[in-house]
């Protein structure tokens, strides 16, 4: 309650004026009658003694209805205690200003009002009652609430929402704008919007402003904006004119959405589609060349077995045979085990791993590599044997190639629960202390035809590995460092149960 004590002096002036001048008195009465606000008076018992037209409008009671009645009829039941307090203050000669409270209209509707109440004194200065001015602020309150709600929405939006005037000066800047563009509201409000427009696009701004001034809306305008740190981001803009109460355009509101991530995802999708079609093409080509390859291999073999070959001719044929086996290797890697049409079966992990290690026995011995097996006993995995062999042999071959002589390769297998999908399955890890993968190469190791082994690699091993795993509901992850201590850990997960739909790859 906002009160102010004004003992003794308030109405002396006006009373003497009205006494002296009946015209002035009539003028005052006219002012009261024509006021938009309710102006009423009551005595010290709270009995209404006057009630202007404004009061009739605000509270719904006519003058005849309420004169002589207690003012408490317009006070809601739960606020009845306000009245004695108000009367007490009035008796003490205090004035109450802009007291916001709730009152009841005759029709029972509650309205929010702002009250100013002053004591009324007689000629002798004795307080005889109170004059109160009540303003209906219901609509104002509603507008305020609506504005508050709107600003809360604006603030909580994920999109940047900013406004600018017709000169391109920023007038508001929400939280998302701070997050997306890096400037705080304090930093940028009052500054030109061109701060966030890349230099080469500054020409856009006058055109945008011209459109806005003409009352046009710009929707989903794809462009580039600059963050405070200079980073460029892809954005989608929707810009609408902002009008004042009279409909005059005074600025623009723009909603800016950061579509950088979306663009990246689109690019990634495009890339993966491209890769899929490259894969299909590679598979088709490989199929087509298999028959001619078989024929050439056979003919070279037959030629090599002809009697009376010169050494030179024999060397040529040996070279041709070797080159041919490279081509065959690439063709097989491309398709390889896609063609394995066996059904998934339950396999003992240790058996499959040992089988693959046996294949590489010679290579391991050649580099004097030691294999440390950490295989949990009785772990099984449900997959196609050929596929798992292909996967493991790709990973083990890579580990061998990366390792220095006399190094160690650790092969671990244990039951596991995938942290993302919460599925049960098996995790097999193959770790080496080899050269490691550079940061640059890490992005590309699963891309077909990417290889760091210039002369021996096909660039298909890890791509196929990943594809085979994903086909069976599994995945591959890796950690690698090419700074000391160097090394790579490739870790694959295969669920113990098959995904609901297993799609066979048919080129």
């Amino acid at each position: 309650m906002n009160t102010r004590s004004q003992p003794g002096k308030t109405s002396n002036g006006s009373q003497s004026l009205s006494q002296r001048n009946p015209a002035a008195l009539r003028l005052l009465a006219a002012i009261v009658e024509s006021s938009d606000d309710a102006i009423v008076s009551k005595d010290l018992n709270g009995i209404v003694t006057s009630w202007n037209k404004g009061a009739e409008r605000v509270f719904g009671y006519s003058e005849e209805e309420i004169l002589g009645k207690s003012i408490t009829v317009i006070i809601p039941p739960e606020l009845q205690s306000e009245e004695p307090q108000i009367l007490a203050k009035i008796r003490a000669g205090e004035r109450i200003e802009h007291f916001e409270t709730v009152r009841l209209r005759k029709d029972g509707q509650r309205i929010q009002i702002s009250l100013t109440i002053s004591p009324i004194k007689d000629e002798r200065g004795t307080i005889v009652g109170a004059a109160k001015i009540a303003r209906d602020v219901t609509r104002l309150k509603k507008t305020e609430e609506a504005a508050f709600r709107l600003s809360a929405i604006v603030e909580s939006s994920d999109d940047a929402i900013v406004s600018k005037d017709l000169n391109g000066i920023v007038t508001s800047w929400n939280k998302a704008a701070e997050r997306i563009l890096g400037y705080t509201a304090e930093e940028i409000v009052g500054k030109p919007i061109t701060l966030i427009i890349p230099a080469e696009l500054h020409g856009d701004e006058p055109r945008i402003l011209a459109n806005i001034a003409a009352g046009k809306r710009i929707e989903h305008f794809q462009t580039i904006r600059c963050r405070k740190n200079g980073e460029r981001i892809d954005v989608s803009l929707t810009i609408s004119p902002v009008r004042d109460q009279n409909g005059k355009i005074i600025g623009a509101a723009k909603i800016l959405r950061d579509v950088t991530q979306q663009k990246r995802m689109e690019a990634a999708l495009h890339m993966s589609e491209r890769l899929a079609s490259v894969g299909r093409l590679a598979a088709t080509v490989a199929h087509e060349i298999n028959n001619p390859l078989e024929a050439i291999t056979n003919f070279i073999y037959l030629a090599k077995h002809q009697p009376g070959l010169t050494d030179k001719l024999k060397r040529y044929l040996d070279s041709a045979d070797q080159e041919l086996s490279r081509v065959a290797h690439i063709a097989q890697q491309t398709l390889g085990f896609y063609r394995d049409s066996s059904q998934p079966e339950s396999l003992a992990a240790s058996e499959v791993i040992d089988g693959v290690l046996a294949i590489y026995d010679r290579k391991l011995k050649l580099k004097k590599l030691r294999v440390e097996r950490r295989i949990e006993p009785h772990v099984t995995v449900c997959t196609v044997k050929g596929e798992l062999k292909q996967i493991l042999s790709n990973l083990i071959a890579n580990a061998i190639d990366a390792s220095k002589d006399e190094g160690v390769i650790i092969v671990a297998a244990h039951r596991s629960v995938d942290s993302r999908s919460h599925r049960h399955g098996i995790r097999i890890s193959i770790a080496d202390h080899g050269s490691g993968i550079s940061e640059q190469d890490k992005k590309n190791i699963f891309v077909p035809f990417f290889t760091t082994k210039q002369n021996v690699g096909t660039g298909l091993g890890l791509w196929i590995t990943k594809d085979l795993l994903e086909k069976r509901g599994g995945h591959i992850r890796f950690r690698s460092s090419n700074f000391t201590p160097t090394g790579t850990v490739m870790s694959i997960f295969l669920p113990s149960e098959l995904p609901l739909q297993t799609s066979e790859f048919v080129a």
Binding site: H287, N290, E294, A295, N298, F299, Y301
Partner: protein, 156 residues
């Protein structure tokens, strides 16, 4: 029942050995048992059928090339082979149909399929659904490996 089918192999004339075979460094074990075993090689790609037959002959096998399944089945009706090597994806009858027909005629014949095409997957899946399991090798297969494979078939 298949025991009642006479083995016709000894009735067939042996091919005279190729002249250069005398200098061959290694001899196939099949030869050391007196007579070469008969292999039918079926592939609609004639160069493959012919070259495989030449390679097998080089190693002392009695190999005969066929370019379609029907001719091979017709031949098998009179002369049961020990081993059949067949391509899979061929015009009617395909490799599976061909080897099934030959197996009907010659119960002891060993079967090896070889294929370089994706369509194999579908054909094999159908065959498996009907309860037929076959050994399959991928084209291109180096002659050394093919010979090893055939030896293992013969001995199994």
């Amino acid at each position: 029942m298949h025991l009642s089918i006479p083995n016709p192999l000894h009735l067939v004339d042996q091919k005279p050995p190729l002249p250069f075979l005398k200098e061959r460094p290694q001899l196939d074990p099949s030869e050391t048992h007196g007579r070469p075993k008969r292999i039918l090689v079926i592939d609609d790609e004639t160069v493959i059928a012919d070259s495989v037959v030449d390679i097998l002959s080089l190693h002392g096998w009695d190999a005969i090339a066929f370019y379609n399944g029907l001719d091979a089945i017709e031949f098998a009706r009179k002369n049961c082979p020990d081993i059949v090597i067949s391509d899979v994806v061929m015009p009617k009858p395909n490799g599976i149909e061909t080897v099934l027909a030959i197996r009907e005629l010659c119960h002891t014949a060993r079967i090896l399929l070889f294929s370089g095409q994706a369509a194999t997957t579908d054909i094999l899946r159908d065959a498996r659904a009907k309860g037929h399991q076959f050994e399959l090798v991928q084209k291109p297969i180096h002659p050394d490996q093919l010979l090893k494979k055939i030896s293992s078939l013969k001995n199994s």
